[in-house]
Amino acid sequence: MRVSLDWLNEYVDISGLTPEIIAEALTNAGLEVESIETVGGQFSGVVVGRVDVVEQHPNADRLRLVTVNLGPAGQNRVVCGAPNVAQGMCIAYAQIGAKVINRKEGGMFELKPATIRGVESTGMICSLEELGLQDQYTAEGDGIWPLTDLVTDADLGQDLKTVLSLKPDTVLEVAPTANRGDLMSVIGVAREVAALFKRPLKLPSAQAPSPAGTSNYQVKLTDTSVCQYYAGAYLVEVQNGESPDWMKQRLLSAGIRSINVVVDITNYVMLEYGQPLHAFDAQKLPEGTIGVRVAKPGEVFTTLDDQARTLTEQSVVVTHNDRPVALAGVMGGQDTEISDTTKSVFLEAAFFPSASNRRSARSVGLRSESSARFERGVDPASTHLAFYRAIALLQELTEASLVSIAQDDHRQLQTQQVPLSSDRIQRILGMTIAESDVEAILTPLGFQLEPQSSSAGDNRQWRVTIPSFRGQDVYREIDLIEEVIRIFGYDRIPYTLPQETAAPALNRRDFLLRQIQRLMAATGLSEVATHSLIGDALLQRTGFSQDPDSTVRVNNSQSIDHTFLRQSLIPNLLEIAKYNQSQGNENCWIFELGRTYVKRRSANEKDSGVEESLYLGGLLTGHPARGVWHKAPETDYFTVKGIVENLLETLLPGQSTRWVAETSMSSMHPGRSAALKLGKQPLGIVGQLHPALQETLKFKAPVYVFELNVEVLWQVLQKKTETLAVESLTAYPSVQRDIAFSAPDQVTHQQVVSAVNQANEPLLRHIELFDQYRGQQLEAGTRSLAYRLTLQSETATLTDKEIDAAMEKIKRQLSSQLPVSFR
């Protein structure tokens, strides 16, 4: 909301206070001042002139020599570069010595005689920006400001401010918090300023008017959930027309366009009190019954802005003999709109509760100055004050006479009383605030304090009566404490530290996550952060899909790129790798630790039914190694598998994971992908992106990806309770023996290791694959594998006999399980 300091000064004397001081105090007390603007012209020495002659500048194509007629003050010649300067145009002429705004650098400058390209220029023709009036007036196109419709020849040579009745003013743009409907008014802001600077608040008088006659207007409220109070004043002999300058200025400073005096009065009083009002043309709203009801679905209503709006059961309308005449508290109707020739007025002042008003405004997608106030909540107890004030202004400014007032009142106004004690203030804030300060703060805000006789010792207790305009946000002792401290000043509260620190519990899961991040980085992968909310386009671009039934979709996204929650990190990682390739970062090794989301159960009040699991996703394409002049490594399937193996062996030493060829995923290379299992639980996948997809996505090198379910790792680690007990190191030497055999390709390495382990040979310490051979000496479809076995005893040096026996046992086990032929 925009608050004019000139207007504010009417209710609280702000002399001696700079706009900056007021702004800082309001901001600290909870009313954030977003900007401070100067309006109404800071300039001086500018008069009205008329362009009599326009000639070409002899030395510059783009400049003109303009002879300005200043009426009784004669003529002056200026050099002017504006493209729109034309003979006969009335303009704002800055004389030598005038102060206007420097458009390039901001700030004011004083105009001095100048010689421009050899021609003397005495003065300047101004643009709106040079006068700082661009918020109040509009001019078409670039260049100087044509005054033609605003002045007459009689004004030539007269001071521009006087002619246009301009008055310099400062406007604060304030942003009240959602709970402070009372600050949507100049009086509300004035009350804050009065309390903050301990200056008296002066309110306008609002006397109950005396209607001169009677009428057949009636108000009947039937649904109090949409309207609790409605008052209508019937005024006749209205002389509508332009508003007085002071009113126009104030509306302008608040950012509201002046329409005509009747409409302006309703807006003026709304800004002043925060109570929206509406005026109907009574000729178009003849005597009858006024009501407020919920709209019928499909009912069409044309608002003041010429929009035909289809209403819903959420919309609330003011009716005249049951016909909608206004969207209640949002906007009036076109049919009953006030015109310049309006002779009689039906003035509405009503209390529309915030919840139904908000739904109503939303139902037609419309927000107005009026609905912004009802939505936050207006003071139900002071509707009549604004009503009386508007009637008085109509009588004064349009010479209207009040015929009658019709109203229906279902408000249940209760005065709330809340206890407050100095002990409690101390307990919450951690500091003592003197009784006198408490009273000096709360009283100007409208609270009435009654000290209680039962107050014991230093604990002063009060009974505090809450003013109606604060009934919505202050109804408990804690709310009063906030009132005290926000005016007293948060900056006056000391800094202390809470006592009795207990050692915080360790978070083992966080250790795991940090360990994963560090390991991945140590292995050469960089962490990325990508969106959890994705869209169909991403899946299409990256050749992935996800199960529609278990996908969590958002209903109201503004962007097609963010319509549902991901179930895999890989599409995002592909997108990031593609982006990096396009930026010249072709060696891309990245990982992300992020959630996936799957609908699992039906939702209830406290459970969304959605399972969120943390996944570790990784992508490798190219190779980031340094020193490639020496040896240029390539990333292949075993690079990515090795990274995953190293991770798992570090996190879960001794736990064996199973790798199963994964041939069925359409986005993955059918011969170079594996599914991983930990016990019976699926742990994730590792493999090469399908070459066809690689080509579609225009990746220059093969792409390898992996994705592991961190929750599965966590389940295992969570159960682990024992700490590591270090094994003593064997003093006896180990021996190594090699075995080599040929076997059909179907025999996997994992099967070989498993068979060797099943020999249960106690001397076997380690088995390492050291060679694979395919070639002419072997049958097609077979390969030769060579393993180095390490044998060791903890109690003695091994003899050849023991070694041979062990090897024999292992070979027998291998032959019995697998079709191998030893060489």
Partner: protein, 353 residues
Amino acid sequence: MSPVSHDLKEQLQSLQAEAQAALSKATSLKEIEEYRVHFLGRKGPLSTIKRGLKDVPDAERVEIGSLANEISQTIESLLDERLTALKQEALAVQLAEEALDVTMPGVYLPTGTIHPLTLVTQSVVDIFRGMGFELIEDNTCPEVETDYYNFEALNFPADHPARDMQDTFYTDVASNVLLRSQTSNAQIRYMERQKPPFRVVSPGRVYRNEEVSSRKGVMFHQIEGLLVDEKTTFSDLKGILHQFVKLFFGQERPTRFRNSFFPFTEPSAEVDVQCILCNGNGCRTCGHHGWLEILGAGMVDPNVLKGVGIDPEKYNGFAFGMGVERLAMLQYSIRDLRMFYNNDLRFLNQFRG
């Protein structure tokens, strides 16, 4: 001297001269070994001379014998000397051949980097851990949340504007299921499980239905903090946050507490830190105010405590929440929020160490 002795003596002396001449020409280890056999071997001239000693008269045998030994040792040491010299020559050649341009690049796999949002989150969490705050386990704080935990239990009135479709993402799961708009749901979920006193922090992703810009996105990260105890005061909140600012920004920085409004705290505050770029003089980053808003905070509203079964007459507490992107932008002078999610490696690789 007998003619036999004289002859042997001459032979011995010429043998030494012959060995000296031969070895000086030897260029390989193999040649040296051949000479060793030639001169000193059993069939060599020295052995022949030693065998001829029996013909030398007794009185001269000792002299000739010791001369033979002397010459034998001399040849032996000549052989060794030459051998050492040749080895050194060979080593010198090897070293010369092995010389490298030691300035050429080493071979390594560069360490990857941790994302700046993770770095900032972990640094904030660690600061609070140092002040006794426990990190709530991330898997107890869902992002897909019910209206109850995101709004109702946090004292949002039924018709609060924040519940509007414009601000919050609602889902097709059920009408009350949404994407959390703040990490404050962690407060409620934690308090439902634990009895006070406690101090906790909880970072995570949150979602707002907003137009994407350089300062706002539909998703961002927050860190929530909560302390509940018997005698907690607003001055404790100020003290804790003041310490945080000092530790996070690495130096004492003026902070400003302003009154504000959040449904789940009362009194509420927004906390500004003096602009780290212009030291409060006013610049574009701080909108010429000299202050940067970094977090929201306040005393936990009694209604929130009541809702989770904690007696607000006995206990009270404070809560705070801060935006990770905002802190990271200030910490690393990042001007556009979208940098975090573009994940350009040239950006990410700057976060080493």
